[in-house]
Amino acid sequence: MSTPFEDLQARAAKRWSELTEGESAWIRVGGGTSGQAAGADAVLEAFKSSVESTGVNANVSMVSAMGLMYLEPQVDILMPNGARVYYGNVEPEEAKAIVEQHVKEGKPLTERAFAYSGGDGTGVGNLPELQSMPMVSLQQRIATRNFGDTDPHDLLQYVANGGYTALNRALTEMTPAEIVDEVKAAGLRGRGGAAFPAGVKWSFLAPSDAPVKYVLCNCEEGDPGAFNDKGIIENDPHTLVEGLIINGYATRSTHGYIFIRTGHELPIESARKAIAAAYEAGLLGKNILGTDFSFDMEVSLTGDSYVAGEETALMEAIEGKRSTPRFKPPFPAAAGLWQKPTNINNVKTLAYVPEIVRNGSDWFKSIGTETTSGTAIVCLSGHITYPGMYEVPMGMTIREVLEKVGGGVSVGERIKVLQAGGPLNGLLGEDAFDTMIDFDAMSAAGASIGSGGIIVGNETVNVVDLLRSLIAFNQFESCGKCFPCRLGNTHMLEILDRMCQNKAKSADLALLERVGTSMKAGSLCGHGQLGFNPIASALKYFGDEIKSCLAGEIAPGGVFGDGTMILPTRTRP
C-alpha cells in the first residue's frame, strides 16, 4: 500500500509531466512584487489573449520571479522539444509577435531573447546558455532553488521538484532531537541579522513539555533595500511552510505563525494560499502525513512598524498590541508569545531547513566559509547595472558581487558607497570592497550582512545626505518606549539637518558621537543600540567628507540645493 506522501508525489509527477512533457508549450511570466512594479500583470494578460487569438496550444502562467530584476518583465517559453528561451523587458505589445513566431511557427525571436536552456544540445540561434551568464552561474541556489521555474500557488509543482520530501523524511525517519542536531551540525546561522546558530536556538525550546509551544517566522522585513524575505514567500512559499513545519516538529511545538506587514499583498496572499494548500494535502493539521505529529499554522499581519520585526515586539504585535520590545529575560524560549515557550526565526533561515534535512548537514557545511556555512541572498539596488536578488555562496567578496553579478555601476563612473544590511548597519567605502561576505568578516569591516540588502551609490552620492535619509528612517521608526532612542535619533537628525543646511559647527561632531554612545548604552532594543552604526561606519570610510560639512564649507545651492529637504519626520504618539 502506498503512503499518503507517495500518493501526493504521484499526483505531483503527473501534473509536472503535463506541463513540461506534453504537446503544449509552456509560457511562464515572472511575477512577484518586483515583476508587478515592472508591469508583469499586463504582460501576462497580453500573452493569454495572444494565445487565445492565435489558437496555439500553450499553457500560460505567472510563475515565480527568477531574481534577474533588471530584465523584468521576464517571460520564458518552454517548447515541447525541451528548449526554453528567455525574453527580458517584455512589453505587452510584443506578446502577439512572440506567440505567433515562436510558439506557432517555432522560430524564437532570438534578437529579443537573452538566453536559452535545455533543448537538443544544438542551441538556439546564437543565444548564450542561461548557465553561462555570470549572474546565474555565480549563484548557488538553495533557498531560491525553484525561482523562475514553478507556480508558487501550485503545491504539486513544489512537490514535483522534490518538495516536502524533507518533511516526510523528518516525520517518518528522524526524531526531533536528530533534526535539531542536524541543523546544529550544518552550522546554519540566523539570517535575520544577529547570526545566532539556529540549531542552538531550537535546542532551548525543544526540551519543554508545555502543552502549547510556538514557532514564529519573521517576515516583517522593514529594511529598505531588502526584499529577499518577501521574495521567498511570494516566489516559493512552500519552502518556508515546509521549513516551519520541520521547525515545529524538531522543537515539539504546536503552532506556527508567519508574520508579515499589512499592505504587502502578494506575499500575504502567497503565504495564505500555501498554508491552505498544505492543510488540504494533509501537510498541516492533525496527524500530518498519517503520523502522530499535529501542527497548525496561520499568517499574522502587523501594521506599519519597523520595530515590530524585533523578536519580542513581534510577539506583542501577534497578541494585537503596540509592537514595543519587551525586557529580557524572560527569553522567548521560556516565556514568549502569550507567555508560552516560543522560537523565532527569519524567513531565510527557515527556507534553508528543507534542503538541509534532505541533503544532510555535511553538504550544507561544505558551502560557504568556515564560520558561515551556506549562502547569502543579496538584494542589489541603487546605482547598479543589474539590480536583483541573487543567492551566492558565503565567502564571495563584495567586489565580486558588485562587479561580476551586479555588472558594476549603472550611471556615473564608479561605486563610491554601499549601505549594507539595513538602516541599523553600516556604510562601506571602496576600501572595504574586498571584504568577504561572511558574518564575521563583514562585522569586522564595520558593516553587516544583516537582511542581505546592498544599496549601491555612485560618486555623486553625498554621504551626509545618505546618512540623513537613514537616520530619518530610524527616527521615524523608533517605537518611543525608551528615551535614548526616541530623543537620540531626533537629536542626530537635527544635527544632520544642520550639516545639510551648512549650519553645522565643528562641535557638532563630538555631540553626534556623544548621542550615539548614549543610545548604544541606554536603549532597550537593537533599534537604539545599533542606531549609531551608519554614522560610526561613515566616519570610518568617509571621515573627511563628513568633516567638510561641519566647517560650513558647502556653498548655498550646492549639493543640498537650498538645504530644505522634505523627508518626513515624526515621532509616534
Binding site: T33, Q36, A38, S305, C379, S381, G382, I455, S469, C479
Partner: protein, 164 residues
Amino acid sequence: MTTAETEQSSKLREQIRQVLNAQAQPTITVLSSLIAVQDSIHYLPDEAIKETATFCGSTINEVWSVASFYTNFRFTKPGDKTLDVCWGPSCHLVGAQQILDSVHAALEIKEEGESPDGKVTLKYNTCLGACAQGPVIAINHHLIGKQTPESAAKIARELRGQSS
C-alpha cells in the same frame, strides 16, 4: 448629532460589525480587527474604535493606543485613490526626492494628505519592497517602478481626473 448623522453612524457601525465578524483566521486580536476594518473601509472612524473595543472585550483607550501606534492607520476618510511614494534610502539615491517634489506639485499639497479636490491621498512609504525597480510608487497598493518626476506627476494628475 442630527438624525441623519445618527442614522449614518449606525449604518457604519453595522458595516463594521460585519467586517469584524467576518475575520477568517484563528487568531483574532485588536490589531487584526483594526487591519480588517481599514482594509474594508479604508480608514478608522470613531465607530471603528468603539466597535473594536466591544468586539474584542477591550477598552476604547486600549484600542486607541494600538491604532495610533501603527502608521498605516488613518482616522479620516481618504481620497478615492491612494498614491504611495517611496522615500526609502534605495529610492532616495535614485531620485525619490524629485518624485516627491513633482507629485506634491501635481497634487497641490506640500506633505502627506489629500489633494484639495479630495480625490487623491498621498502617503509616504519607507520601502515598498521593489527597490530594484526604484524609484517606486504605488496606486492603491499596486506598484509601479522606474518613475521619473514627469511620469509620476502625470500619474498623479490622471488620478485627479485631469488630463495630463
